[in-house]
């Protein structure tokens, strides 16, 4: 899936960017240094996060039907997709590249999606102890949306997920500009 900036850059077909488009881009670009810094901070504490999640998963792994290792590592690596959507400030990316794939993974593993929602929630609360306020402010909408997105979609099928997420659009926290 292509992010909104790339789409906009390639969609004007020879016409100048409109004032609204330009302002939207400039407003976004001015937040980019903070977004990139938040990504760097998250990357820096990835190993710590893996350890934290491993400790959290270990006693619950059998009950949840999850592999103990390397699940925490895989999960932490998946956060790059969440960070990508935060860097691009693009909720569509978050749905397409994080929420839907996790729904599919939960289905494949025959694990309730609420467990993945709990893992994101746990990761978020762990990060709250490690990251600076501005990074947390930028990451919070993405974590909130993933947790809500995974919890909202109860009886999983691709159709119901897409329908529920589409309906949930207005319920979820809007991505910060």
């Amino acid at each position: 899936m292509t992010n909104w900036i790339t789409k906009l850059a390639h969609s004007t077909n020879g016409r100048p960017l409109s004032q609204d488009e330009t302002e939207m881009l400039v407003d976004y670009v001015e937040t980019l240094p903070d977004r990139l810094l938040a990504a760097k901070k998250l990357e820096e504490c990835q190993k710590w996060l893996v350890k934290h999640l491993s400790d959290y998963i270990a006693p619950r792994a059998i009950e949840w039907g999850l592999p103990k290792d390397p699940f925490a590592t895989d999960f932490a690596l998946c956060l790059t997709a969440l960070v990508h959507s935060m860097v691009c400030s693009d909720k569509e990316l978050l749905i397409a590249e994080v929420i839907l794939p996790f729904c599919e993974t939960a289905d494949a593993l025959e694990v309730p999606r609420n467990i993945f929602a709990d893992l994101f929630d746990t990761a978020w609360h762990a990060l709250c102890k490690r990251l600076d306020p501005r990074s947390l402010q930028l990451l919070e909408p993405s974590f909130t949306d993933v947790v809500l997105g995974l919890r909202i979609t109860e009886e999983w099928s691709k159709a119901t997920v897409e329908s529920n997420i589409a309906n949930a659009e207005t319920l979820l926290t809007p991505m910060e500009a």
């Binding site: 900036i5 390639h10 330009t22 400039v26 980019l32 590249e97």
Partner: protein, 163 residues
């Protein structure tokens, strides 16, 4: 190279330090780029007028070879300026190549334009922008204007020039 228009390269990895620094530097110039883009849009018609007035003097035979050649020159030069402004705004030379220069060069080659003709035209465009724009606006646009000259004049000498 990571730019604003290909952030999807970060789908499964974090940005490197060099990429981050380059984007942060870009962010610090984006307001100036917005102003420069608007300036070029505002002066675009006058710039093309400057260029075409001289091209008509230098290449009076163009209408013999190309129906509505000068009208199309106005149109194409104006269109190119919009793409140049956009590429400068995004700080992305590849965007300029991909969106317009590559196919335009193929088209101009098929018209049997000479490398000198191309260089003259786009040098006149650059010099008009230099004359009309504020120094900072020109400084931001200059790499894109010069790249356009070099890229579009990089064509073989036609066996039967039509200029």
């Amino acid at each position: 190279m990571l730019t604003l228009t290909n952030l999807d390269a970060l789908r499964d990895r974090y940005p490197t330090t060099a990429e981050r620094e380059r984007l942060v530097e870009y962010a610090s110039s984006v307001r100036e780029r917005q102003i420069a883009m608007n300036d070029l849009e505002l002066m675009g018609d006058a710039v093309v007028d400057d260029c075409m007035t001289k091209m008509i003097e230098m290449y009076p035979n163009i209408p013999r070879y190309h129906v509505n050649g000068f009208d199309r020159g106005y149109r194409d030069n104006r269109l190119l300026l919009t793409y140049i402004a956009k590429a400068m705004f995004f700080n992305d030379m590849k965007l300029l190549d991909d969106q317009v220069l590559t196919w335009v060069r193929t088209l101009f080659k098929s018209f049997n334009f000479t490398p000198k003709f191309m260089r003259d035209n786009f040098t006149l465009i650059r010099e008009s922008v230099r004359k009309r724009a504020k120094p900072r606006t020109f400084a931001l646009l200059e790499p894109y204007l010069t790249h356009t000259i070099d890229y579009l004049s990089d064509i073989p000498e036609p066996s039967r020039p039509e200029v």
